[in-house]
Symmetry: C2
């Protein structure tokens, strides 16, 4: 029997640009009598990382394009916000019925290219981190340097998905573990090779953490303990499907 524990770490105040996010998280953890352990997995909400990194756009500095203005007018949106979304898109996947799904410059497919206006100052919007893997690596390194412990780190965000309602958290940036395991070729209990087992553990870890984080609750970080993984250098991009395998362009 294996047991995992999932603990939310509340940070005392709203994260501001330039904040030493890892230090804030570590201090919060220590304030409840806990500390980092080797093998911990820290999941941090993209929004907190982006804010600390200053990935904030002031909408009054944005000049909306014709496309942004037309779309915004049709669906009652802020044209400056729509323009920011379009600027973050490598390509538009769907743009209909008031829903805009794009593939971001990094390669993530999500609504509004991950640009968000909630939990941020009026007149601003928050972008995804520029390089979520690097963000995860920096957090991982910072904990190693300050506490001497080797952890893995995931930067997560909540995405919608086709055919299913609601949002689930997924892994954007990953440091220290493989977010996609390849168990093909391992025998099942009848001794036959499993043909299609590729658990996206990075996304499942993010989802588990998502249960504890709440947009209304101020818990931007979660520690998962008891999930055994092989330390490895990797990337959140391992979870992105190559275009030639994408049946839903």
């Amino acid at each position: 029997m294996c047991e995992m524990t999932i603990r939310g770490i509340a940070v005392q105040r709203e994260v501001q640009p330039g904040d030493p996010l890892t230090e804030l998280i570590t201090r919060s953890l220590q304030s409840i009598g806990q500390n980092w352990q080797n093998g911990d997995i820290l999941v941090v909400a993209q929004k907190a990382v982006s804010k600390a990194e200053g990935r904030i756009v002031h909408l009054d500095e944005i000049k909306p394009s014709g496309l942004a203005r037309r779309w915004a007018q049709r669906y009652g949106k802020d044209p400056r916000f729509v323009e920011v979304v379009l600027q973050q898109a490598h390509r538009i996947v769907r743009m209909e019925k008031g829903i805009l799904i794009g593939e971001t410059l990094h390669g993530f497919v999500c609504a509004n290219c991950g640009v968000d206006q909630s939990n941020t100052e009026e007149g601003t919007a928050v972008l995804l981190p520029l390089d979520p893997d690097e963000s995860a690596r920096q957090i991982q390194r910072s904990i190693l340097e300050s506490c001497g412990k080797k952890i893995a780190c995931i930067v997560s965000d909540s995405f919608g998905r086709p055919w299913r309602e609601g949002l689930v958290a997924v892994a954007l940036g990953v440091a220290g573990l493989r977010p996609l395991l390849d168990l093909r070729g391992q025998p099942d209990r009848q001794g036959r090779n499993l043909t299609a087992t590729l658990p996206a553990v990075g996304d499942e870890l993010a989802a588990a953490a998502g249960l504890v984080m709440g947009k209304a609750e101020g818990i931007p970080a979660v520690v998962i303990r008891g999930f055994r993984f092989e330390p490895a250098q990797s990337s959140g991009k391992a979870l992105l499907r190559a275009p030639e395998n994408d049946l839903f362009r």
Copy 2:
């Protein structure tokens, strides 16, 4: 700070048709000195539920259609297996490059309509449960009757998804909690209404359990403790997007 625990329950032997699955799970839980507690969430793998319910097809009884034979020949598959998949489909979503994604009779969109040949006897395939919600309710009722405890139950399966590699567990059947929460209208920390927060907690709970279940490890059931939920009658179908909102037909 809130802490969730996630514990896998190994069942001693392969589940067989007619097995009293809930009893097997309860006995395994008790064998490690544990017992059900009010508020527990039990996640059970669809494969175990389906086997106990006898949802097994013998491929030598299947007469493949022309469509099944042509597809199977082109991609090196068993035409009888393909025929079973087609019979489970309400509609075909994508059928190309050797990948068959269908919407099942229940409404789930997944590869091969959820029909599976792994971890089952040679020459057989396992279907999804006929009514996963009812399966979840029966498990929930059985635990209430035998142990007097009120739990929630999720019947889960691992699905692939567009644009992202790998499989993540999702909720098929649900009893006892709302798998989709509607937090719209609640203020964010700036006091503005959140506009798009609909966490699919049923899927996130399934994903968390998926980290502990392993297809090669014989852990078909997982107990999640410490996730606060409001007891409610609901259905896994709350997680299915209505056709008019589906941009990826």
